[in-house]
Amino acid sequence: MYPLGNSAAKGAGMIKLNVNGRVHDVDAPADTPLLWVLREWLGMTGSKYGCGAGVCGACSVHIDGDVLRSCSVALGDVGAGKVVTIEGLSPDGLSHPVQKAWLAHEVPQCGYCQSGQIMAAAALLKAVPKPTDDDITAAMQNICRCGTYQRIKAAIHDAAKGGAA
């Protein structure tokens, strides 16, 4: 959808980028991966670098409501797309139903993958408010080396029920 490097707008110059409801002027080449724009140009480090190759999901963000791997999206291809990162998921960083469920289930271990996991889960629940196990396994393809998958699954079901137990 946003293939890296296929940007029509290669080259220098300010590029407008809407992140968490704020429009930034970014002075970065159009082929810069969105992940690094967020982390280094905008100083928003909640989205993580895990593989840089679209494989791990640690960098997951929403663009116009779809979850995408920001390491594999070129800045120039975001265009007017509205980017939401973990920093913008909820006003206090805690009150999104997925965040609440994550806390209730004590999902994170090291936590490094969790920004991406939470963004993926939030997008899933928006698209499929009552996901089945199969919906969850199909949608949640992010790597967690600490192995928190069992709790991720339980927390998503809980968030879908509209409340963290």
């Binding site: 993580k48 190759a53 920004s115 080396r145």
Partner: protein
Amino acid sequence: MNQINGLGRRGFLGTVAAVAGGMSLGWNVPAAQAQGAASAAANSAATAAGGVEVGIWAVVMPDDRVIVRIARSEMGQGTLTGLAQLVADEMDADWAKVQAEYIAPEVNQANKRAWGDMSTGGSRGIRASVEYVRKGGAAAKAMLIQAAAAQWGVPAGECSASESVITHKPSGRTLRYGQVAAAAAKLPVPDNVAVKQPSEWKIVGKGVKRLDTVEKLSGKLIYAVDLQLPEMLNASIAQCPVFGGKIGSFDAAKVMGMPGVRHVLRVGDDTIAVVADKWWQAQTALKALPIVWDEGPNANVNSASIAKHLESGLDAKEAFVGLKQGDAEAGLKGAAKVVEAVYGTPFLNHATLEPMTCTAKWDGTTIEVWVSSQNGDASLAAAAEAAGVQLANVKVNKHHLGGGFGRRGQQDYVRQAVLIAKQVPGRPVKMIWSREEDMQHGFYRPITMAKMKAGLDAQGNLVALHARLSGQSILAHLFPARLAGGADPVQFQGWNKEEFGYQAIPNILIDHAMRNTHVPVGFWRGVNHNQNAVYLECFLDEVALAAGKDPLDFRLGLMGQMPKLRAVLQAAADKAEYRKKLPAGVFRGICANYGFGSYTAAVAEVSVSKQGEVKVHRIVAATDCGYAVNPDQIAAQVEGSFVYGLSALFTSENTVEKGRIVEGNFDTYEVMKLDQMPKVETVVVPSGGFWGGVGEPTIAVAAPAVLNAIHAATGKRIRTLPLKHHDLSHA
């Protein structure tokens, strides 16, 4: 201070004297020194925010918050919370107001390592700290009570504490910890105090919430990779892809004009760094940098040549003996039936999700680093050595780790960051390894093989066992000085006199033909237990079946000398209803292991389609870690250890071609995702009386239980990992 107070103190010291002597363990700081620690540590975040140190393990804030000092590292395993529970419980602190902070390695160093060992590995984070952190908590409580008693002018013995409130029983008066902390801090730290009996624990043993979760949900936790400092530059590095090779030449001019690029540097003789304003710019330029490597003597080594090297050890005359009882050779000769099989496991990268990263700043005399490390002391020493300065000229800022698993005990990346910073004085430089760099420059789980031989008598009793290991030694690579007469005791994990579970076998020989390679190896979560448990626990299944016996009964019959291992295996079997029939097409496998001070066992329920697709439906994992500090976090570690262990079983491996690691990223180094996650049911059976590890022990039982179930399902005995190379289709 008044007389009553003095009496109270004497009373207290009297109690202390009774339990003193040999009990102070890692914390031998006389009171005066502990006071020194207090002033030296005054710049910690908690004290800067107005807290006072009561003893060295806790800072009490005016609002009653208790900030527990943590010397070990938090990498997801929950040690930070567990240690805080131990201190807070002894303090009788209100858990709702407990927080934690790291003690800085240089502060530890400057105070004769008053906070003990900072290394966090071998599942020792809690069990090796329990004695002194609990004493620290108990000492703080004694001081707080003492201060309150002094304020009231009553004997301390008339006062008690609960949930951060001190009560004078006769008068009913109360004072909160925050109200007396300043006075308590001025008292001498009692150098030995009694700790609670397990029956008195209120916070220990409870599945309380972790202290470090909230900031992991909002993206606000600053991992080392996230650090942003004023004037900071960023570096990406390339190390010679062939281990043992060096830099030949590179053409810096080709990339110096690229956006943001500041420097192209040599880092030692085998690494090149590009330093730029932003990491993405450094990485982009590094990829464009023409480099010629001097690949050195190992450029022709590959997985096939390594396999040959290991195979030569399977029947070699020379081998180090790890365990010997009776006469295995004679036992095998006289056996009615001999079972023999060869097993093997590959190199494995830790693949922490946060790649190796470290920031360093050199100002001409001192070096400051920001790092996620499993060993703050070692990071301090490595930074000093790389910078060529005294320890006193080093500052280490510890960050929570984005995964450790044993990898971040090594300090190679700290040294590199320091060597880079020294060439860019005055500005902090953050070095981040690309995933590819991380994958190809690990300290891999060593490659090993095992030739297993068992002798059965006419009644099907196991009368002789010979396990011959052949493979690479971790100690030979990392700490050759720790080899014992050339032998690597780590190689025999689970198979030594202390840990081997089946000592009822009359004739046993376990030995190791060391076959080292040029690939760097290290401690990978679970270490040699992983490989050894696969070899032994799968082979025992083979032997049980050859003897016509049930694998569970067969094992239980050999575990007489290890009642706790027997009990934990029985507990897993009971929970899994081992004697009950499973639904059609689902099969069981079992196994057990003793390691890192804990007894573990697992039952796996698995089905394999005719086409050979494996599905793990359920895992029952039992662990006896003696005392369970936080059962919910134990469950989390058990669940996670199965993900790590089953990734290794199903898909992960590192192979060698032309002297270098072939796999570069998670596309080829495949790890488990949510869709393969089995349901893991954790059974914690804490029998008490000892402190066992938690982070690693259960990983050893992950693969063998599933492999044994796969055999039950397919009749196929898989002896080399990973499974992705095997055809499991069956009729």
